[in-house]
Each structure stands twice: as structure tokens, then as C-alpha cells.
């Protein structure tokens, strides 16, 4: 499957929400879309393009905006596809993919708690890896780690 095939299948379903389809090394292509067309895209990718297996959902913090990316696999075409969307940092939310692919459930929980991207209509958006009640979102660029020497001073007061 080539990027052109992806464009042909997705452009009618998404219309203006499909921003670009770029070639990506080792994959069918990289689909950039606007978050309004998320659910249409997921349905089209799963049903029309046979990418039935969603394997990864992740988030990246580019300080002025954040990016959510999805990686899906197709058994019939034996290929991956990469879907990515940009969300503004002040209003970081996107529709959940767990209604289309149940495997997105835990991945979206982890992306929310680490990169602070809310997934609308997620059935169970709570902490997975960080403790319950942890208020920080550690993988944001604004969250700084300590140097090892600083830790020794701080822990003397424990």
C-alpha cells in the first residue's frame, strides 16, 4: 500500500480534515489529520483500509503544541500506518479511539497521565502508571528532573 492509496481511500471520508499523507520509511504512510476528523479517520482506517490492529498510541510535547500519534497494522497488507494529529497545548483533547479499537484503552490512559492529552468519551480515564492522585504530567517539557547530587541533599530531610 502506498501513500496514494491511502489518500484515495481517506479523502472522501474526511474531506478538509485530512491534512497530508507523507511517505514514511517502512510504513504505508504518515497520515496527518485534524482532530475534528478523528473518529471518521479511525473508522475508515480500520474498515476500509483493513488496519485492524492498533498497536501504539503516544503523545509528544512540542512546547507550543502537542502531537498524538497512532500506529496500526494490517494483516492482509502486512504493513503499518502512522496517524498523527496536532493539538494546541492550552486545549489538548482529542476523540478516543477505544470505541473503534479496544486496544487503545490503556494506551490513552498512559498518554493522558504522561503528556496531559485528554481523550473525550474514554470509558475509564484514570491513572495507570503514576500513583493515584499524582498531579503532574511527567513527560511534558516543563517538568524537569533533579540532578543526582540534588537528590542527596533533599533526602537528608526525609
Amino acid at each position: 500500500m502506498q501513500p496514494d492509496d491511502l489518500v484515495k481511500a481517506l479523502a472522501p471520508k474526511l474531506g478538509p480534515n485530512l491534512l497530508a499523507v507523507e511517505p514514511f520509511d517502512g510504513m504505508a504512510g504518515r497520515v496527518r489529520f485534524k482532530r475534528e476528523g478523528a473518529l471518521d479517520l479511525f473508522r475508515a482506517v480500520r474498515d476500509d483500509l483493513t488496519f485492524t490492529h492498533l498497536s501504539m498510541v503516544g503523545g509528544i510535547d512540542w512546547v507550543d503544541h502537542r502531537e498524538v500519534f497512532y500506529v496500526a497494522w494490517s494483516d492482509s497488507a502486512r504493513q503499518y500506518v502512522l496517524l498523527s494529529t496536532d493539538v494546541p497545548a492550552t486545549d489538548a483533547h482529542v476523540e478516543t479511539a477505544s470505541s473503534v479499537w479496544p486496544s487503545a484503552n490503556w494506551h490513552e490512559r498512559e498518554t493522558w497521565e504522561l503528556v496531559d492529552i485528554t481523550f473525550d468519551h474514554h470509558p475509564d480515564l484514570r491513572h495507570l502508571l503514576t500513583p493515584d492522585g499524582y498531579v503532574f504530567h511527567p513527560l511534558l517539557r516543563s517538568f524537569k528532573l533533579h540532578e543526582p547530587e540534588e537528590l542527596e541533599v533533599k533526602s537528608r530531610h526525609v
Binding site: P138, L145, L151, V158
Partner: protein, 208 residues
Amino acid sequence: MTTPSTQVMPPSKSAAAPDLPAPLAELPMASQAAVPFVEIETLRVKEFIPAAKEALTSLIAEQGQSKLIRPVFNWAGRNSLFPLHWGLACCAIEFAAGFGARWDAERFGVVPRSSPRQCDLMIVNGTVTWKVAHKLITLYEQMPEPKWVIAMGNCATGGGPFRTAYSVVPGVDKLVPVDVYIAGCPPRPEAMLDGILRLEQLIRERKE
């Protein structure tokens, strides 16, 4: 001429002296009033027992605890250390290998137990995170006294390669008192056995 039936008697010291055998005749007791031999022995024993009792009690009170009872307890404790069957991270794989056939840890009496109530040793083998800290302290408190903790590996000693992480406790000694630290990432099973033997040496020298 003396007749054969005549017995030769030793000269008595006094007419009122009893029939005592020769060694006892020299004792000062010989000049006392007549008391039969058996009663004298009983009298001596009767005086001896309370004296002996008093001596033994003071001996046990001062030194028996440290010379008799404490060594037995130490011997029993160090030869039957039961660690908690608990693996946190990579060091747990070397901990499990230490119980395999090549480095048999059970020959030292070390048998992992599943419940902390039956353990006296907690080997912290892996990275301790803040999320598990409460559970680790609970497990430590569930162990009965006397109990020891071995920090196995760099993560348990001081955070290891993850020391700068936001979710990692920089060393388990921030949570529970540690007796032996084993360095390594991960320490070989021989190093773990060496750590257990050092703990046994510590227990051997335990005074109270």
C-alpha cells in the same frame, strides 16, 4: 604376752570423741559433740545447695544470657533465614537464579516464604518506586521481630540508573532500615550469596 583377740586402738584425743575414721579425726569437728557421719554429710550438702543455687542464678543473670541463650538463638536465626518471596525488577531474576541448581541458596537454610508473617529477611531486589513504597513498608511491618533487610542491587542501594527519575525512591534505606547492601547491576548470584553470608556474620555477632 598379748592375746590375739586384743585389738589395738588408736589413742583417742578425748574420752568423749566418737568413732571417727582417721582423716576425720584431725578435723576441728572431731572435738565437737558426737554427730553421726551420715548426718554430717547431709549437713554439708544442705549448706551447699543454697550456696550453689545463689551462685548459678547470679551466673545466669549476668552471663547466661550472653554466653548461653543468645548464641543459640543467633545460631538458629542465621542458619534459617527465610526471605520474602518477592521480586521487584531485574535483580529478582538473579535472585531466582540464586535458588537454581547452580548457586543453590537453600543449602544455607534460606527458603523463600510467600507470607511476610513467616519471614525474617526481606531482600529488596529492584527499583523501589514511590507507588510501591507504602506497600513495602507495610510488608516490612508485617514481618515479626527479629527481622533484617538486604538491599540487593544498585537500585535498592541508591536508586541505581534510575536515580534521577521522578517516580523512583533513591535507595530503600529511605524507607526501611537496611543491614546489608549488595552492589551490582545486577549483582551476580554469588554476590547475593556473599551478602547473605555477611548478614549471617552480623547475626553471629548479635548481642541482644
